[in-house]
C-alpha cells in the first residue's frame, strides 16, 4: 500500500477510535456527567426541547455559562418558549455532578431535551449507553467464544461430529435471528429485574449469534488443518487441544474481528428492538431500546426530534466500530511506513 491511502486509513481509524472512546468514557462516567437521575421527572416539561447553554444574555452581556428556563406556551401542543428575563447559571461540580442547573426546580439542564414523561434525554442516553453497549459487547464476546469453540471442534474433528454440529448451526442460521430471540425471550417470565434481563438477553444473543462464527471458523480450521504447519505441530507432540487453540484458531483472528464488527451493531439493534416491543429491559431502566420506544410516534420526527438521539448514538457507535476495525490493518501498515 502506498503512503497516501494508508494515511487516509489511519486517519479514519483514529476517527472511529475517538468516537468509540468518547462514547465509552461518557458511558462509564455517566453518574458524574449526567445532570440528573434517569427516573427524575419534570412534570411541567413533557417533550421540552433541549436547553441551550449560553454565554451572552438577552441584553448582549457576556456571563458565565447559563441557561434560560422553558415556559410552557401550550400544554396540548407541547410548545415551549425561553423565558429570557431570568437566566439561570450553571453549577459546576456541585452535588457530585460535572454540571447541572443551579435551580433544577425552575430550570433543569436538559441538554438533549425531555421525553414524554419529562425525563432528561441526555442523562438517560448516557446511562442507557452503559447497558446497551455492555450487553452488545458481552453478547458478541459470548457468541465469539461459543462459535469459535464449536466451529473449531467441528473443523478439527470432522466426520459425524462436524455434520451434526454444522446441521445444528444451519438450523439456527435459517431461522430469522430476531424472531428466535423474540420467541426465546417470550418463553421467559414477563417480569424480570434488570440484571436477570441483562443475563438472559446476553445468553440469547450469544446463542443466536454463535452459528455465524462457527461456520466461518470451521471452514478456516478445516483448511488450516491440512497445511504442513499443523501436521508439524502434531508430529512434534502437540495434543489436539494445543494444535487447535495454539495453531489453528489464531488463523481465524481476522475473520473473528470482522464478525465482531457485524455482531456488536446487530446486538445493539436487537436490544433496541426487543426493548421496543416490551420484551427487553423494563421501561424503568434506561437503555437505548426503551428510549426509542418513546420516539415511535410520527410526531417525534417532526416535533420532538431529540427523542431520536438514541438512534443517532447507535449510528455513531456502529460507524465508529466499523471505521476502527475495518481500517485496522491499513492503519497498522501506515504506522510501519512511518
Amino acid at each position: 500500500m502506498s503512503r497516501r491511502p494508508a494515511l487516509h486509513a489511519f486517519t479514519v481509524q483514529r476517527l472511529g477510535a475517538s468516537v468509540l472512546i468518547t462514547t465509552a468514557v461518557a458511558a462509564l462516567a455517566a453518574p458524574f456527567v449526567a445532570p440528573h437521575e434517569t427516573d427524575r421527572r419534570f412534570p411541567g416539561l413533557l417533550n421540552a426541547p433541549p436547553t441551550a447553554v449560553r454565554l451572552r444574555d438577552a441584553a448582549g452581556s457576556w456571563r458565565a455559562p447559563f441557561i434560560y428556563p422553558w415556559t410552557r406556551v401550550s400544554q396540548l401542543e407541547q410548545r415551549y418558549e425561553e423565558d429570557r428575563t431570568s437566566p439561570v447559571p450553571l453549577a459546576w461540580l456541585a452535588t457530585g455532578r460535572l454540571v447541572a442547573s443551579s435551580d433544577d426546580g425552575r430550570a433543569p439542564l436538559l441538554l438533549l431535551g425531555a421525553d414524554s414523561f419529562g425525563r432528561d434525554v441526555f442523562s438517560r442516553l448516557l446511562f442507557g449507553a452503559r447497558l446497551s453497549l455492555a450487553l452488545a459487547l458481552l453478547a458478541a464476546l459470548g457468541a465469539t467464544l461459543i462459535g469459535a469453540l464449536l466451529g473449531g471442534v467441528a473443523g478439527y474433528v470432522g466426520g459425524v461430529v462436524d455434520d451434526v454440529m454444522m446441521r445444528a448451526s444451519d438450523f439456527v442460521l435459517v431461522l430469522p435471528a430476531m424472531y428466535v430471540a423474540l420467541v426465546l425471550r417470550a418463553m421467559m417470565p414477563l417480569t424480570l429485574d434488570a440484571p436477570a434481563v441483562f443475563a438472559l438477553l446476553a445468553a440469547i444473543f450469544a446463542v443466536v449469534g454463535s452459528p455465524f462464527i462457527a461456520r466461518g471458523v470451521r471452514a478456516i480450521v478445516r483448511t488450516e488443518r491440512a497445511l504442513d504447519y499443523a501436521a508439524a505441530a502434531a508430529s512434534l507432540g502437540a495434543g489436539h487441544a494445543r494444535v487447535l487453540c495454539r495453531h489453528l484458531l489464531p488463523a481465524a483472528r481476522g475473520f473473528l474481528v470482522v464478525e465482531i464488527t457485524l455482531l456488536v451493531p446487530a446486538f445493539i439493534v436487537a436490544e433496541a428492538t426487543l426493548s421496543y416491543v416490551g420484551l427487553g429491559f423494563p421501561d424503568t431502566i434506561a437503555s437505548w431500546g426503551t428510549m426509542l420506544e418513546d420516539a415511535s410516534n410520527i410526531a417525534a420526527f417532526a416535533d420532538f426530534p431529540w427523542l431520536l438521539s438514541p438512534a443517532a448514538a447507535m449510528f455513531l457507535v456502529v460507524w465508529g466500530l466499523n471505521l476502527t476495525l475495518q481500517n485496522r490493518s491499513a492503519g497498522a501498515q501506515y504506522e510501519r511506513l512511518m
Partner: protein, 534 residues
C-alpha cells in the same frame, strides 16, 4: 368521502361481532327501530314512526314507517323485526351474539306483529330504559338470512367471505366492494327512507370509502396530506400538535368533544381464592389498599402526564360526559399521600427495613403485578405513571403488558393476574343497560365477575339498588337510586379511576354536516347527513 379505520371488520354481521369496524359498517348499512341520538343521548324514532306505552309500563306498541324498502328493493315489514329478535336470541348462535344486549332482567323480550306495520314489544320485567334497548338491534333482512337461521348457521352468515352483493340493509349506504386489508367501499342507497328537512333524499354522499390503515401514524398523515377525510376514531394526545397545525392551515377541522364517557380502570383481582396460599392475600384484597391507591395518586398530574395535558381527572366509572347520570355528589378522593400511608399502615403494611418500600408483618414486600394492554399508548403510559406514583407511597408494582385478547382472557377467567389497568368501554350511557358491569352476577363485573351470590354486603346492596333503578319508571327516582349506587361504589372502590382522555376528533375541512359525539363512532354514528364541499 374517504375515512380510515385501523382494522378490517371481523364480520359483516354485527349480531356476531362487535368490533369497532363492524360497528362502523353497521352504522353505514343498517338501521334500527329507534336510535339513541349520540349528541343529545336521548332516543328518537327511526324505522319506528311512533310508539305508545301500555299502562303497565312493560308493553309497547310500535308503528313502523310505511313504504320502506331494503337496499335490494325488498319491502321492510314487521316480519323483519320479528326475524331480527329471533336471530338475536338464536340459541345456536355459536359465537358472541347480541342476545344479552336486547334482554331485560336477563330474559328475552316478547315480540308480536298484529299487522305488517305494527310490532308489540313486551318486556318480561319492568324496564325503565324501555325502547332505548332497541338501539342495540339493527334490523336484518329476513329474506336474506332466514335460511341461515333455520339451518343453524346464522353465526357464520355474512362472514367476510360472503359476496358483498348478498349484504343488504336499511341504512344509508350499501357495501359494494371489500378488499381485505385495503378498503371497504360503500355506495349510496337510493332506497334509503330518510329525507332532510327540505325534503331532499338522504344520504347526501354518493360514495364512502373506508381505507384500512393499521397504523394510527399513517391515519394522521393521510388526513394531514388530504388522502383521507376523517379518522373514525379519536386522535391520540400525541397527534394533537400535528393536527392543530393542520387545522391552523385550514386543512383539518379539529373538534374538542371534552372528557370521554369512559375513564381508565384500575382494579385488583377480588375473586375469592385468586391468590391461593400467597401470603399477600391478607392485604391485596382489602378495601383499604384500593382506597390508599386512590389517595396516593395526584389525578391532575396523572391526567397531564398520561394524556399529555389532554385528560381530565375522574373519580368514578360515570364521568361528567355522561350528563344525565353523572353525580357530582359522589365523594372525590383528594391527593393525600399521608392518608394513603395511614391506610396502608392500618392493614399492616409498614416500612420495616427503612428502604422506603413497604412490607407486611412477615416481611413480605408490598408488591404486585399490574396487567395492562400492550400497544395501547394511554394504558401503557398510565401503568408506568401509576407505578411511579405508587412507589412514592411504598408500593412496588411490576407492569405486565399483554396483547389485548390475552389480557382479557385472564380477566374473564379471574386467574393469572393480580391487578389490572385497562379500558372498559360502556355500551350505553344509561346504567340500566350496563347491568353486566354493576350486578354481581354480571359478565362484566370485572373485579369478580359472574358471582352466584354477592360476595360482599355492599355488592348485594348495589344489586338491590340496581334492580330498583332498572324497574323504576320515575326518572327522578332512578337518578336518586343510581347516585346511591355510585356513592357505595366510591366508598369501596372495587375499581379505581384516575383520568379520562379529552376526545379530539379530526376531519378534513371539506367535510360538512358533522354531528360529533363522545360515543363511538364519533363522526359516523349519523352518516346520512354528511356531505363534502367540492
Amino acid at each position: 368521502m374517504v375515512a380510515s379505520v385501523r382494522t378490517e371488520p371481523q364480520s359483516f354481521n354485527w349480531y356476531t361481532q362487535h368490533d369497532g369496524t363492524t360497528d362502523v359498517l353497521t352504522f353505514l348499512t343498517q338501521a334500527r327501530l329507534v336510535r339513541v341520538n349520540r349528541v343529545t343521548q336521548e332516543i328518537e324514532p327511526w324505522l319506528a314512526e311512533r310508539w305508545t306505552r301500555a299502562d303497565d309500563g312493560r308493553s309497547y306498541t310500535v308503528k313502523l314507517r310505511a313504504n320502506v324498502t331494503f337496499a335490494d328493493g325488498h319491502p321492510f315489514s314487521a316480519d323483519d323485526v320479528l326475524f331480527s329478535f329471533a336471530a338475536a336470541y338464536d340459541p345456536k348462535g355459536g359465537g358472541p351474539t347480541i342476545g344479552g344486549d336486547v334482554m331485560a332482567g336477563g330474559q328475552p323480550l316478547r315480540v308480536s306483529a298484529p299487522d305488517p306495520l305494527t310490532v308489540v314489544i313486551t318486556f318480561p320485567v319492568p324496564f325503565a330504559p324501555g325502547l332505548r334497548l332497541l338501539d342495540n338491534l339493527p334490523i336484518l333482512p329476513k329474506h336474506k338470512l332466514e335460511a341461515a337461521l333455520q339451518a343453524g348457521t346464522f353465526a357464520d352468515a355474512w362472514s367476510l367471505s360472503t359476496p358483498v352483493s348478498e349484504i343488504t340493509g336499511l341504512g344509508p349506504f350499501v357495501l359494494t366492494d371489500f378488499r381485505p386489508g385495503q378498503r371497504l367501499v360503500f355506495s349510496r342507497n337510493d332506497r334509503y327512507f330518510r329525507k332532510d328537512s327540505s325534503g331532499v333524499p338522504l344520504p347526501y354522499l354518493d360514495r364512502v370509502v373506508v381505507d384500512i390503515v393499521p397504523d394510527q401514524n399513517g391515519q394522521v398523515l393521510r388526513l394531514e396530506t388530504g388522502q383521507a377525510d376523517m379518522m373514525t376514531s379519536e386522535a391520540r394526545p400525541e397527534d394533537y400538535a400535528a393536527l392543530k397545525r393542520a387545522a391552523d392551515r385550514g386543512r383539518v377541522q379539529l373538534v374538542d368533544l371534552g372528557g370521554a364517557l369512559d375513564a381508565d380502570s384500575f382494579w385488583i383481582n377480588l375473586k375469592p381464592g385468586a391468590f391461593g396460599a400467597d401470603p399477600r392475600a391478607t392485604w391485596l384484597q382489602r378495601d383499604e389498599l384500593r382506597q390508599a391507591i386512590s389517595f396516593g395518586v395526584d389525578r391532575k398530574a396523572f391526567a397531564d402526564t398520561v394524556f399529555l395535558g389532554a385528560g381530565v381527572p375522574v373519580y368514578g366509572p360515570v364521568t361528567p360526559a355522561n350528563r344525565k347520570w353523572f353525580s357530582s355528589a359522589v365523594p372525590q378522593t383528594p391527593y393525600d399521600p399521608a392518608r394513603a400511608e395511614a391506610l396502608l399502615a392500618g392493614i399492616g403494611l409498614t416500612d420495616g427495613n427503612g428502604d422506603g418500600m413497604l412490607e407486611d408483618a412477615r416481611g413480605v414486600a408490598a408488591r404486585f403485578s399490574l396487567t395492562t394492554q400492550k400497544g395501547q399508548t394511554a394504558l401503557e403510559r398510565g401503568a408506568q405513571v401509576l407505578r411511579d406514583e405508587l412507589k412514592k407511597i411504598g408500593l412496588a408494582v411490576d407492569i405486565v403488558a399483554l396483547e389485548g385478547n390475552a389480557a382479557v382472557a385472564r380477566f374473564v377467567s379471574g386467574q393469572g393476574y393480580e391487578a389490572a389497568y385497562f379500558h372498559i368501554g360502556m355500551t350505553d350511557v344509561d346504567p340500566a343497560l350496563q347491568t353486566e358491569y354493576w350486578l354481581s352476577a354480571g359478565g362484566f363485573h370485572v373485579w369478580n365477575l359472574g358471582q352466584k351470590t354477592p360476595a360482599t354486603a355492599w355488592e348485594r346492596q348495589i344489586d338491590e339498588l340496581m334492580a330498583r333503578q332498572t324497574a323504576a319508571l320515575d326518572e327522578g327516582e332512578r337518578k336518586r337510586t343510581f347516585d346511591e349506587v355510585q356513592k357505595i361504589f366510591a366508598e369501596h372502590l372495587p375499581v379505581v379511576h384516575f383520568a379520562a382522555p379529552r376526545i379530539f376528533m379530526a376531519a378534513s375541512s371539506r367535510v360538512m354536516g358533522l354531528t360529533p359525539a363522545v360515543q363511538r363512532p364519533q363522526f359516523l354514528w349519523s352518516p346520512d347527513s354528511l356531505w363534502v364541499r367540492p
